[in-house]
């Protein structure tokens, strides 16, 4: 068995509607400029009522391994760390929310960006399908049916980049603005090992703010370079998750997470204000970086 170039550890829980689309979006030919042999997908099922099976993914053009988490938890942390232990590629992306679609060039862009620095922290940007952030959209009738229709109207998956036409960025300040987390964070294996993966202390539902914690810890490792990917992204499908259902639940998750983070880390949770390098996936070059660092 040849070693893939990129492993993706994807966590799923009760996403019968969303997961097939997500997996399709991670596989060639939807994913461009990358071959089947270059990718492995480790699908960590975290206790779904109807777990996905190999038959469900047999039609997809990728090496997909489905793993049932032995002791499922409300937090995805154990599943992620188990998946990380199984990953074989030198570059590993953690996909903490299995309800997020990828844009077509995302994996190739992350792979290329990761070659630009010996210790890269490659962060993709988060979007949410719909006219506004989903906790707001649901107040105006946005639901799964509306989202299905929305994807139909843009001819997805044939027109993958049209996701940008029907989505809302989670970054109000744009790609160079303050950022709290990345749904798909790509690090070389040694950096994941230095981090010891995701922190098992985050036992609350959804892991609380474990994803921001991991992103911030990765960026704080010595001699790393954060590289944000511009022109690609991950797109959240609505599925009743705690942080996207209502404004109240979204705020409660963040506020409680902030309090617990302060207890655990001894400092306030803070957004990452240094954008690092911005890597433009279309031109395949760094468009914002310290002097002399353009690729």
């Amino acid at each position: 068995m040849t070693q893939p170039a990129v492993s993706i550890v994807l966590v799923s829980y009760n996403m019968r509607r969303e997961l097939p689309r997500t997996l399709l979006s991670l596989c060639p030919p939807y994913q461009t400029d990358i071959a089947r042999a270059d990718i492995e997908i480790i699908l960590m099922d975290n206790g779904s009522d109807q777990p996905p099976t190999l038959a469900d993914v047999a039609h997809l053009n990728a090496d997909i391994r489905i793993v049932q988490q032995a002791q499922p938890s409300v937090s995805p942390v154990s599943a992620i760390n188990h998946g990380l232990s199984l990953a074989r590629a030198p570059l590993i992306g953690v996909w903490i929310d299995g309800a997020r679609l990828a844009s077509p060039g995302l994996i190739a862009a992350c792979r290329l960006a990761a070659t630009l620095h010996p210790r890269p922290v490659v962060a993709t940007l988060n979007y949410q399908l719909g006219p506004t952030l989903q906790f707001e959209s649901v107040r105006h009738g946005y639901d799964r049916q509306a989202e299905d229709h929305l994807l139909h109207t843009i001819d997805w998956p044939q027109a993958g980049y049209r996701l940008f036409d029907v989505a809302t960025s989670e970054l109000r300040g744009g790609p160079e603005g303050p950022m709290l987390e990345s749904n798909a964070l790509f690090l070389p294996r040694p950096l994941w090992d230095e981090l010891s993966g995701y922190d098992p202390a985050f036992v609350e539902p959804g892991g609380g703010v474990v994803n921001p914690d991991t992103y911030l810890r990765a960026c704080a490792l010595p001699d790393v370079q954060q590289i944000r990917i511009v022109g690609e992204g991950t797109f959240h499908q609505i599925h009743g998750g705690v942080s996207t259902s209502t404004p109240e639940s979204a705020m409660a998750v963040l506020q409680t997470g902030s309090r617990l983070y302060r207890q655990r880390r001894g400092r306030p949770l803070a957004t990452m204000r240094d954008p690092g390098w911005l890597y433009d996936a279309q031109s395949r070059s760094v468009i914002q970086s310290p002097i002399g660092a353009r690729a």
Partner: protein, 94 residues
């Protein structure tokens, strides 16, 4: 959130100035009379601050009140122990 924080206006103002100044790494003093978004303190950071406030002061802090009192001066007036503002609106929300 229907209670004031257990600290006076000067203490709460100083705490918020230090917190926000630290988050934003502002070279100058945080302008207490300007709205949070005027100097780039966004809604996500406000909700995070509400969680830290709860830890710091030991009382519940409704982040919505940071949006309805969107400057340090306004929030301090409404929720410091010796604040002169009216929190009746906040009480009705709860």
């Amino acid at each position: 959130m229907n209670q004031r924080l257990p600290c006076d206006r000067d203490t709460l103002r100083a705490w918020m100035v230090a917190y926000i100044g630290g988050v934003l790494s502002l070279p100058e003093q945080v302008p207490t009379d300007q709205t949070f978004d005027a100097y780039g303190f966004d809604s996500v950071e406000a909700v995070v601050m509400a969680g830290v406030m709860e830890e710091e002061f030991g009382v519940q802090v409704d982040p919505v009140q940071l949006f309805e009192n969107p400057s340090i001066d306004k929030f301090v007036a409404a929720f410091a122990s010796d604040g002169g503002g009216n929190i009746a609106g906040a009480e009705q929300r709860d």
